[in-house]
Subunit: 159 residues, 6 copies
């Protein structure tokens, strides 16, 4: 076992909420794989390469993370990188049930892989990528919700 | 960092739900401290020594766990054993909020200690120590809910 | 199978919420056993005989109900009256989890007995016996929440 | 009253969760109508005839069920088959509110028809048709979640 | 401060649930702005002028309301009408989290504007515009759920 | 109508969560009555006079609040001070249902009085008086959770 974990998500774009989970995971595990789901059925707002770039900028202070794009089943990706832990952040009760359903499905099809949950810090608990996108679309101020270094990238996208 | 975790609880008595969390934690961490809270304000149904004994019997198949009794604040205990991770099982939405409140409090007073949550396996999700005690009190059959090796201990207590 | 059901509760006192569930169950099943739990560990506000009497008064319009007091495990009572269905009303999310936990426990220890849930009518969804007792204690007006014929009984109790 | 019930759904495809509810309903009621909603606004993954066929295969052990396709309002269908009970399975808190809203609407427009809820067995509580479809799409192993006799049908659909 | 409030929504169409919140708000505040969101990304079932008209008809008994259509960010509209209070109705737990998320976002980007919540009356708690539209589409009876004076308008739309 | 509101609670002791609600209410209403429930059935940890004193110290920056102790029914107190609005803070889903039940009861017995809810700021959402008391009891650091000016008062109580 290599004491690593995988933190999967859309990161479309990365928010302070995601960054909180990445930073705290990086204190517990030797290596954190930040894994961007390339959802072939539902195109994101930002191209996956742009999402990688924004995560890279936001995580410069961390030296034990790897950022990758994956498609297909999450558990196949976890095995590929030889990890056995999935990390997920929980913000609210509505997250809870969908996340637990997913974790039970994954435990059934891959019993060697565990999902561990971190509670998102309260001050970030109401932030979501979709809210950031909506604010950006309407030229509202979204700068409280994402790392400063990517504010311009997001504005560019919604110009 | 010693890659250990602390799994605190009342274990009054240990159930299959607890055992599931202990077993899965033992696969992820090098050492699991099973920490029985000695609640001086609310006496349990079983003496703490009996609870230690029942956990020992139930966990014979695991060689990387330590069973201890603690009182006072949980974070003080976690520091004493030089760990930085608390493990908690989540069964249902009603667990969720109380557990998250506690984890936020702990993160505020001890920022170096993280709480990680595991979702209890669905088949154990409705089991609780209090339900076992009530069944035992009314001479109902509680043997589906606790390890076989402690069924007699519980019956003795409620004779 | 005798097409009957058991509706268990404390009925301390019966409210319009309970009466709604009893009346609707009586349309579906040939016989409804209204089963008052005699909780030996927690004394109620009204003596069980008084609770029986208040249910009787409130259910005069129904001719297929039987009102009884039971103690011990619910499933033992259900078997004694040769039924195989427990009826429970659900008001809110907070009811949901406790009720489901109980139904799963009962299904495990008595697989031949099913629990069926009815959703309490919205207009009664916020009524509870404890709220009625508190209003009665403080001489507030609780007459919207219980059948008219038992208002005096409750006032007498809190004189 | 003919002591029957209607269990409506999309069954796209049937899962072990659905089969659990059908089997338990068939123990309580003399006849169970399994009613496949033909949603004209949202095409399913499987044609309705295929869904009928998969339910038939899965329910061979039951001799008191009728499988039919309906469109329009559910309460109209329930009246057509001369039943007065709708059966629904509840898995999680998130089901709860949508289901209760629907049951209150139905009770308002058809006061003679009651909705009864069964709690899905915990071990099936995290299974959904959409999860099965997603696993099948990505060539994951979904065989734990549906009756063995329809595994091939599903694979064929996603070839 | 002009002691007014803004009640935003889609009102597609207005229901008794909306009318309840408007009427109660009009008792607390000197002026209530009923603000119809003109969602450019998601076309409604009724044109916004028709929605204005239906609200007008339904609110004839109130003399302190103003009905307007807005687009863009809600907080910009609130400032434009010189109010500092947003009113929202809460029906169920599932409303709760989305509404709170929105209120926290709004408080972050506009700290001078507060969101106040009213609990929808239980008897209206299960009503939604989408349910009304679905009933109208299938020629079901939706007249219990909307003001009588707009029943014909809705029927016309779904002819 | 005097444009005032009543904010009831135990305030045993006041926390930053309470102070947040008081401060925000004081921006919306001309006068805020902070009403301490003197629960005759359940003695608090701090005497009511001490609770008044701690609220006074914490609210020195506000000039439109009145701090009072009341017993009996809340709606009777609201009428006594000639207000028609009750303010409550909501932190989590678990608050939601108990609070809504109470608001519906109050609306039934006093239709002229409305309850308005504010969402507690996320950063205070996990704070509760009971948590503060427990930390104080175990000599933990509770100073993040209550106004600085009352930290010593609380320490004195738990000496």
């Amino acid at each position: 076992m290599n004491n690593s974990c995988v933190y999967p998500g859309s990161f479309d774009p990365i928010t302070y909420g995601h960054l909180d989970i990445i930073t705290r995971s990086a204190k517990i595990f030797d290596k954190v794989y930040v894994a961007i789901l390339n959802n072939t059925q539902k195109k994101g707002a930002f191209p996956t390469e742009k999402r990688v770039e924004m995560i890279q900028k936001s995580c410069k202070h961390l030296d034990n993370i790897v950022i990758e794009v994956f498609d297909g089943l999450l558990v196949d990706y976890v095995r590929k990188v030889k990890s056995n832990v999935i990390i997920r952040g929980l913000r609210a009760v509505s997250d809870f049930e969908a996340e637990f359903q997913m974790s039970h499905i994954n435990l059934q099809i891959a019993p060697d892989i565990e999902t561990l949950f971190l509670s998102t810090l309260p001050k970030y608990s109401y932030i979501s990528s979709s809210m950031v996108r909506e604010l950006a679309y309407f030229k509202g101020d979204f700068s409280y919700f994402v790392p400063e270094c990517i504010v311009e990238d997001i504005k560019q996208q919604y110009k």
